[in-house]
Symmetry: C2
Subunit: 138 residues, 2 copies
Amino acid sequence: MAGREPTYSIGELAEDFAVTPRSLRFYEDQGLLSPARCGSSRIYSHRDRGRLALICRGKRLGFSIAEIKEFLELYEADDHQVEQMRYVATRARSRIDSLERQLADVQQTLAELRALAATVETHLQSHGVTETPDRRSP
Amino acid sequence: MAGREPTYSIGELAEDFAVTPRSLRFYEDQGLLSPARCGSSRIYSHRDRGRLALICRGKRLGFSIAEIKEFLELYEADDHQVEQMRYVATRARSRIDSLERQLADVQQTLAELRALAATVETHLQSHGVTETPDRRSP
DNA sequence: CCTTACCTTTACGTAAACGTCAACTTCGAG
DNA sequence: CTCGAAGTTGACGTTTACGTAAAGGTAAGG
């Protein structure tokens, strides 16, 4: 019953996540990944794949590499000593606080932008333009 | 009845908007501002002040200097050229879309983090620790 | 006259997150 | 054997939005 864990080359994993091999090496330099080696070639495990998924998500969220690294360590610490759990709890809470602030920021920005869009569209309407802008031949 | 328009030195304006003089010079280099000169000193008019307000707002909204420059040129060009307003509206909408995606992502992350925090705290409780962790002297 | 505060220009420095190039090595296919 | 594709490690280039001296001008106040 031994299904061997799948492994990936740098190119495969890069393509799967639509990043470049260069990025994967960079993440490794920064300590976010540490794939096994076969000779000098990198061999990525299923866990590495999971970590990369988290990295990509973090990037989508606009976090820096350093922040993402903290995240990863946070998830890693999952099955560590009880003593360290306090630290994890503290980090998680502080992370949540920061995210809540970011959430508020984004919502504020959205509000401003929607107001701007509304203003502009009102102006457009007052010029007799009500439809979604078609492109006219110039 | 001729109240002269107020003018500002670089330092005044910078302080008013909580930016550095360096930033104002930079914005000028980038063509976002072009204050009058008295000798070599910059003299900012009321209009310049208005432009700076737009610049700061653009920054808050997450636009790049280059994008803000485009907007300023649009506002400048004609107060209401329909074609140009469409462009602004399009940009705003696209930014809104992107922010809405980001919002969803952040909310998702928050949910996960809260779950993690809850898990960790449950673990801590099961070890007889119920209070918020105080910082002990090391 | 001298200091102080504020202004000027020029120009190099910084941080993030890779891109890009060079200069190999390695491996399976033909 | 040879080729090309894909891998490796440096190391320097790029972009954005300024920071940070360096070196000096100018006007007010003591």
